[in-house]
């Protein structure tokens, strides 16, 4: 028999995995992993602000991450290279978050829960918020799918054909901010990027179209959540990291399988002319 909290944890994790899969593909295709990190780290500052003004964590995190995404969008390409800017933003916002959290009086905050997630304590209300956030992320990505793909392939070619590369970039950043707000409760600020990138990377060698890659990434994400949760419950390991470890194993497996298949295919190709 499954305990109620395990079911709740799985539902929350599954919603996150489904939304993270297509978004993670774009993060991988656009080489935005650093961006994901910066926004995820800034979410801790959002948590601190939410507590200070006693509002919902979800809205505090969305507020801070969207603002950061917007400023990064404006500053990028001016004086500093993007990775420098992101390195500064990422760590300053994390440090600022830690400082702010320590200064909030009257609240004893379980910092570890926000850094590494606490999926086993999600309530029914949390699940509702997470599911709504995930649905919004998926809806945004489905709605903008073709323009996002086109501007990902080449922003300039897309611009010439009448697409608005900057607008699509903003859509993606807002989507990312939403996902981070949803994910912080489940995997924590430090591991959010891994939920985005690892399933997408695992799906890459098994896919021949962008849509296939998103679907396979979703499956990999779901399997990671289920097995990671099981691992955590039966061997008493921290849940968020357990999910990431399983995802890492799937990544390894996908690459081993695909290189094996590739090798077989090459051998068959080589032996064909002799048979003929």
């Amino acid at each position: 028999m499954l305990d109620d909290f395990v079911v709740r944890a799985f539902l929350a994790g599954a919603a996150l995995a489904l939304a993270a899969a297509p978004l993670g593909c774009f993060i991988v295709w656009r080489r935005m992993a650093y961006f994901g990190d910066a926004i995820a780290h800034a979410s801790l500052l959002g948590v601190a602000i939410s507590l200070a003004f006693s509002m919902s964590t979800f809205f505090g995190v969305v507020l801070v991450t969207v603002m950061l995404a917007y400023f990064l969008g404006i500053l990028s390409g001016k004086l500093y290279a993007m990775d420098t800017l992101l390195g500064v933003a990422s760590h300053v916002s994390l440090a600022l978050g830690l400082v702010a959290v320590s200064k909030i009086s009257g609240v004893r905050l379980d910092l570890a829960a926000y850094l590494f997630g606490d999926i086993l304590t999600v309530t029914r209300t949390d699940i509702a918020i997470i599911a709504a956030g995930a649905a919004l992320v998926i809806a945004l990505l489905v709605w903008r799918w073709v323009p996002l793909l086109t501007t990902t392939l080449s922003p300039d070619m897309a611009t010439a054909r009448g697409f608005d590369a900057r607008k699509e970039q903003m859509v993606l950043l807002v989507t990312l901010a939403l996902l981070v707000a949803v994910a912080i409760k489940i995997v924590g600020a430090l591991l959010i990027t891994s939920v985005l990138i690892i399933p997408a990377a695992a799906a890459r060698p098994l896919s021949r179209t962008p849509e296939q890659m998103a679907v396979v990434a979703a499956i990999a994400g779901l399997v990671s959540v289920a097995l990671g949760l099981a691992l955590s419950v039966y061997s008493d390991t921290p849940t968020g990291p357990s999910i990431v470890v399983v995802a890492g194993l799937l990544f390894l497996l996908a690459n081993v399988v695909s290189s094996f298949v590739e090798q077989r295919r090459r051998q068959q190709n080589r032996s064909l002319p002799k048979d003929a």
Binding site: V28, W29, P147, L153, M157, A160, R161, R204
Partner: protein, 258 residues
């Protein structure tokens, strides 16, 4: 003839450095314009302004209402993490469905590539696929940034003939950029020499049948290439590295005082 793009007094700067200054540029329906200039002369920057990827710091830029453009960048680094075959790439985001028909796929010689993954294409194959992609929406204006880079003279000549056929049959204007200062597409209606500013504008000289010219332009190019005589006699600051051989006396016979 109606102007597709009309730009006046464009200035672009990166930081404090002015890359382009006081550029007047226009292109009309069915016109073929070649922009030449040394490396770092702002050719690619100008193209990016014309397609709308960069906004000018000063000046005005007017595009004809409803103008459809196709653009082929100088190089494209596809992220190998994005799985996609050529067929899907060509139809992706196309707003006019089947404007591009299979006879052109054959003429651009990409028919056999349709089911290939983009990341497996060679440089030349990718260039042809990019050209096909730029033609998908049946553009009024086709913009090519150093499209013949890496081709030999015969390859270059046949590419130019293809572009000319495109103009003649589909009626699109063509804007080409080339780093070759002297040998240009002979079908160019106008050549613009750029080096931060417009140095000169003119028409190419069709290469005569004289054997020395034939030797210079190679055999089998069937007149697709022509000479451009620069009509400016000032020298540029040669503090950037390029092979802009203005003062070399030049067997190619352009009229530089150097």
């Amino acid at each position: 003839m109606q102007k597709l793009i009309d730009a006046r007094q464009l200035t672009i700067q990166y930081g404090n450095e002015k890359v382009l200054e006081h550029i007047d540029f226009s292109i009309s329906e069915r016109e073929i314009v070649t922009i030449v200039g040394p490396n770092g002369s702002g050719k690619s920057t100008l193209l990016r302004v014309l397609i709308g990827a960069l906004s000018p710091d000063a000046g005005t830029l007017n595009r004809r209402a409803g103008l459809r453009m196709g653009y082929v960048p100088q190089r494209l680094s596809f992220d190998s993490n994005l799985p996609m075959n050529v067929k899907r790439f060509l139809s992706l985001g196309s707003k006019r469905g089947n404007a591009f028909n299979s006879s052109w796929e054959k003429r651009i010689n990409i028919e056999h590539l349709l089911n290939h993954q983009i990341r497996h294409l060679s440089g030349g194959q990718l260039q042809r696929v990019l050209l096909a992609q730029a033609l998908m929406d049946d553009p009024h204006l086709l913009i090519l940034d150093e499209a013949t880079q890496g081709l030999d003279q015969i390859g270059e000549a046949s590419f130019y003939r293809l572009i000319e056929e495109l103009r003649n049959e589909r009626g699109c204007a063509v804007l080409l950029v080339s780093h070759d200062l002297h040998v240009v597409m002979s079908a160019s209606d106008r050549v613009v020499c750029l080096n931060g500013h417009v140095c000169c504008e003119g028409t190419p000289t069709i290469v005569s049948e004289a054997p020395e010219y034939r030797a210079l332009f190679g055999h089998g190019t069937e007149g697709a290439l022509a000479l451009y005589r620069h009509d400016h006699d000032h020298d540029h600051d040669h503090d950037h590295d390029h092979d802009h051989s203005h003062s070399s006396g030049s067997s190619e016979g352009h009229s530089h005082a150097g």
